[in-house]
């Protein structure tokens, strides 16, 4: 087979990889903000939940989490009488988002705590509630600081999507393995796939840089 004939099946896989990356990055960002803000909370229960979530998902391997959600969770559901069988797409997006969200949470927490003390004191002097302080004072300054790390995490997440091929989702890595089984032409196929992932990573990096410039305006607005 000529290498151009590999393009079509590989592009189909790449499209699923793009979708998985998009969904899990968005869900992961939501989780990162929830857990990151939760960890700075004064409410002990909220803080304990956030800390436990972050520690468990940062402390174990992504592949273990993925397999646990896909293979072990249904059995746990059975014993409590619930149907917790997840379709591979849901298990994949969930595992990726939970994992990247835990790493992102530490970035969010770090950036919020790096906002200078004076800002919090000024907000207090102006009689801001804690919620107002968070949304109107801390976050607009903290979010631009998070962006470089978020950019790295987004690329990390794109790379991690390759693991969902192991629960038989037809992403780029899965299509590559299928083609290899069929044609035995490993060198061509895997070289193409490496360059396709590299290309996608460059696009993700460029998009995150654009987003970084956009939210960077929030920082200067406080003037």
């Amino acid at each position: 087979m000529h290498w151009t004939e590999y393009l079509n099946p590989l592009m189909q896989g790449a499209w699923l990889t793009v979708q998985l990356t998009l969904y899990s990055t968005i869900l992961g960002a939501v989780l990162a903000f929830a857990a990151g803000i939760g960890k700075t909370s004064h409410n002990r229960i909220v803080k304990a939940i956030a800390v436990t979530y972050i520690e468990v998902f940062r402390g174990t391997s992504l592949l273990v989490q993925l397999f646990w959600l896909y293979f072990a969770l249904p059995i746990l559901g059975q014993t409590v009488g619930l149907d917790l069988r997840l379709p591979p797409v849901v298990a994949g997006v969930l595992a990726l988002a939970l994992n990247i969200g835990a790493y992102g949470a530490e970035v969010v927490r770090g950036a919020i705590q790096a906002v200078s003390k004076d800002q919090y004191e000024a907000a207090k002097a102006l009689n801001f509630t804690r919620r107002q302080t968070l949304w109107s004072v801390a976050l607009p300054q903290a979010i631009p600081e998070m962006m470089p790390s978020f950019g790295n995490l987004a690329v990390q997440n794109l790379k991690d999507t390759a693991l969902v091929s192991l629960i038989s989702l037809g992403d780029l890595a899965f299509r590559a393995e299928q083609l290899r089984n069929f044609t035995q032409d490993s060198t061509t196929i895997y070289t193409m796939v490496l360059f396709m992932y590299f290309g996608m990573a460059l696009v993700v990096t460029a998009l995150m840089k654009t987003l970084e410039r956009y939210v960077g305006r929030w920082r200067s607005a406080r003037g």
């Binding site: 520690e55 468990v56 940062r58 402390g59 174990t60 391997s61 992504l62 592949l63 273990v64 989490q65 397999f67 646990w68 293979f71 072990a72 059995i75 746990l76 014993t79 690329v155 790379k159 991690d160 999507t161 390759a162 693991l163 091929s165 192991l166 890595a173 590559a176 393995e177 290899r180 490993s186 060198t187 895997y190 070289t191 796939v193 490496l194 992932y197 590299f198 990573a201 460059l202 990096t205």
Partner: protein, 230 residues
């Protein structure tokens, strides 16, 4: 039965206890792969860092592009690439070694950055002072740069050691019998995935807590202002 150890399915607790030694066998392989991969990453990373710092653009530019390429592509694909492509060129390695090589290759792109940052963090004044004292550049590197760079580099490297440990399960795809693979096999044969996979999660938590505790200890113990040469 796996590794000659029988499991006891009479109750969940008995099952968990009986498969623990089997999982620990897998854990030994996980730890071996972690350290071998880490070693490869340290050596390759140093080479990449040196090439990227080369004064000749014709050397430093390709080295920079190559490390960026390695950093931006998934470990799984790099592993498949090494596993299937190297034998076509006559280099047949056992799965374990291919896996450790892939881990080392992926993380060399990260360790190269750690070396670079650690060395560049040394203030310019230090170089000027060494020159004023008539140190040769080799002596400046071994007696001024390294003693200050090493305490900065070691904790960052430790964090990558923990990351490598968490990536070892990927090697299960090329039949390496690390902890997750062992748990999957137990699950396949007993139709009970919940207990082995949950145990792997728990054992991973313990390993990462111990490892990151060690890294934090190193970070606090190493002298911030540089190692003493006396």
């Amino acid at each position: 039965m796996l590794f000659g150890i029988e499991w006891d399915t009479s109750s969940d607790l008995a099952f968990a206890i009986s498969i623990l030694p089997i999982l620990l066998r897998g854990m030994i392989v996980t730890i071996q792969a972690t350290f071998l991969g880490f070693f490869v990453a340290l050596v390759l990373g140093l080479i990449f860092a040196a090439l990227k710092a080369a004064p000749l653009k014709i050397i430093s530019w390709p080295a920079g592009v190559l490390t960026e390429f390695i950093r931006d592509t998934p470990l799984l694909i790099q592993l498949f690439f090494l596993y299937y492509v190297l034998p076509e060129y006559g280099l047949v390695l056992p799965a374990f070694l291919t896996g450790a090589l892939a881990l080392g290759l992926q993380y060399s792109a990260y360790t190269a950055e750690v070396y670079r940052a650690g060395i560049e963090a040394i203030a310019k004044g230090q170089h000027e002072a060494a020159r004023a004292l008539n140190f040769t550049s080799l002596r400046t590197f071994t007696h001024v740069v390294l003693p200050q760079a090493v305490p900065r580099i070691i904790p960052a490297m430790g964090n990558y050691l923990v990351s490598i440990m968490k990536d070892v399960p990927v090697l299960s795809v090329v039949t390496v019998l690390e902890m997750l693979n062992v748990a999957q096999i137990v699950g396949d044969r007993t139709f009970n995935y919940l207990i082995p996979l949950s145990m792997v999660g728990g054992l991973y938590m313990i390993m990462t807590l111990v490892a990151s505790g060690g890294v934090r200890w190193l970070d606090q113990t190493l002298p911030k202002r540089g190692l003493s040469l006396k």
